[in-house]
Symmetry: C2
Subunit: 403 residues, 2 copies
């Protein structure tokens, strides 16, 4: 098998941990596999460099930040390669450039455009372990670029796709994807398998193990993704196509997003285009709107409710104020003591009654549902934040996720 | 004018010092010059990384060391560029690769083969300050290489040569080249100008401000080199062609090399090729031989004396032992309490009596001269180490170098 293994900053946080990673890689190699390793900077390094830059400028040029930040992964890659050499393996470290990772020219947030894996393929054919500096690439005009948050995961997935690897393992300090947050529901179970789409819904709802960009790319390139911990030999969670998952669970997991606020607009003038005007203005102010509900009031106006991230609340307020001043909206109110609970599962597509069970569970617990939104594989409910844990636990129980 | 300015590790040792460098560069730019800056890694960084690598392997692969060590200069280059941007200058940092520095493939000790300065020229034409990561280049097969000790100086000189810069300033913590070591002779004076050849003799004799590689390259590429301090505005010393130096001093400086040991071989068989055999064997053992004296003994044998660096002494001993065992040499003795004092000056070429004055000065002070060697611009004498300071001071005085 050809396996791509990615180790994040915590997993390579000091020299001892780098040695642990070398041991793990050597096991995989000894088992007869070809291995490409993708590494992040040692934890703390990137923050240190960002801190240095901030001392000189509040707004440093992005190309310079890429030059600065791309150094950390090079250090880890060469150290790991040296450790593997010392253990008797042939290993070679490669920069993003050397690995053939070509990106667009958007510094600090570059997107991978394509990968020319010749150097990697050649080294693998020679029996070498390839160690790639993650998070970085080279733009078509020859400058070093970085891929933004979660960039090393992206490097790993893209490399796995380009090399048609059998597996892409993402090592973190979490042992996999759970049916819900174990800190809320101790009976939460680790999933063996989950589909890309379920993972996307769980990630965007706060699971935080993988960035959506990486899952989307894995889905697009058909990469079998595994998240697991580098601190033990415990098996992780495989994220793959729906077809690969034989027994489709009705519900795979319960996600909780506390970072939500509700905006209520009362007495919105009922004229064509008003909703479009409001949401365009919000988009221009970079306010990310999630759920939207519109309903007719008793008079000639409508009420519009929507949710935004808590961090966007004051920006949303400024936008709404403009419409209040122009008398397009009569009144507004804001509530940041809400949360969003979501149940996710591909099985919902083919089964009825999944949503109804969620609502009845909330009713049994006397939890008032403020807003509801659904997709093919997801039901989300906005409730008061104080009921967050109760809602998660009772839903987890209702769908028997601990079984 | 086009000026290349190189700042070593101490000059960029912390963020405050990097800001000082930015201030100095900005002054040069504001005065109407084009500026290319070459920087080393922040002092301590390279040693830290070498220490990391040593934890994993006593003998890490050299290509991996280059990957590892080349990261430090990138950090300094981008930080300096960010600082200059913040001060309102357009600046751009470049790796060795981007600056077009092509080397051979000898990792950790690469030699610069050529420079393609297109990217630098273009940026300069656009009015930008170019900040280059020193010490590094790229081999013809596309891998990052480093240039070994003094590598950033080499980068600066080679860039100055390729861009036909008017001046290449090397900033260190020393304010220039002195007539002798000021710690020995407080009356030592800083030289305004010195020729490449004089500098080469002074450097090899221990002046330690510049590596000979850099001076040799400056001579070859006809680069006007200035060494000066980054900690004050004091003028430095210009190292240039002899033609540029109008008033040729008889003697420019007195150098002292304490790192010498004397090897005496007695009763060497007087047959053809014996000297060649001995010195070939020493060369094969990587022993660097400096001065050699051979004289006939009373019997059928000769005596051979030579000097080596103290660090090579035990290797030299092993080689000599082989000749003793084969009875080619009767007896040997070693003395590491000697030193070498040299007087250097291009004026010697056209003046007589310079060497004679050195010998008479030693005689006046009752200092016994063990060995003498001379070149066109240098007279070296081996004496007992205990007389080192006395010899330097009396020679400095005899040639009136404090005037």
């Amino acid at each position: 098998m050809l396996i791509v293994q990615k180790f994040g900053g915590t997993s390579v946080g000091d020299l001892e941990r780098i040695q642990n990673v070398a041991n793990r890689v050597s096991k995989t190699k000894k088992a007869g596999n070809d291995v490409v390793v993708v590494v992040s900077a040692m934890s703390g390094e990137t923050n240190k460099l960002v801190g240095y830059a901030q001392k000189f400028s509040k707004n440093p040029a992005r190309a310079e930040m890429d030059m600065l930040l791309s150094s950390g992964e090079r250090v880890t890659a060469s150290l790991l390669s040296i450790a593997l050499n010392e253990m008797g393996f042939e290993a070679v470290s490669m920069t993003g450039r050397r690995a053939g990772i070509v990106t667009d020219i958007v510094h600090t947030k570059a997107r991978i455009e394509n990968i020319s894996p010749h150097a990697m393929s050649k080294a693998l054919k020679e029996g070498k372990i390839v160690v790639v500096a993650g998070f970085q690439g080279v733009s078509s005009d020859g400058n070093v670029t970085t891929l933004g948050r979660g960039g090393s995961d992206l490097s790993a997935v893209a490399i796995a796709g380009a090399l048609k690897a059998d597996l892409c393992e993402i090592y973190t300090d979490v042992s996999g994807i759970f049916t819900t947050d174990p800190r809320i529901e101790p009976k939460a179970k680790k999933l063996d398998k989950i589909s890309y789409d379920e993972m996307l819904e769980l990630a965007s709802l706060g699971a935080k193990v993988l960035q959506n960009r990486s899952v989307e790319m894995a889905k697009k390139l058909n990469v079998n993704l595994v998240t697991r911990t580098s601190f033990s030999d415990e098996e992780g969670t495989l994220i793959t196509t729906e077809d690969e998952i034989m027994e489709k669970a009705l519900v795979s997991g319960i996600a909780l997003d506390r970072n939500q606020a509700r905006v209520s607009l009362m007495g919105v003038k009922d004229r064509p285009g008003i909703a479009s005007e409001i949401f365009t203005a919000l988009a221009e102010a970079d306010v990310n709107v999630d759920m939207i509900i519109q309903n007719k009031a008793y008079d000639d106006t409508t009420n519009i409710d929507f949710t935004v991230g808590v961090g966007d609340l004051s920006d949303a307020k400024s936008v709404v104020d403009r419409f209040i001043n122009s008398k397009d909206i009569k009144d507004d109110s804001y509530n940041d003591t809400i949360c969003k609970v979501s149940i996710v599962g591909v099985g919902m597509k083919s089964h009825t009654g999944v949503a109804a069970k969620a609502f009845s569970t909330m009713a049994t617990e006397n939890i008032n549902i403020h807003m509801i939104s659904t997709s093919e594989i997801k039901v989300s409910m906005v409730i008061d934040e104080k009921y967050a844990e109760l809602a998660v636990r009772s839903l987890h129980n209702a769908y028997e996720l601990d079984k």
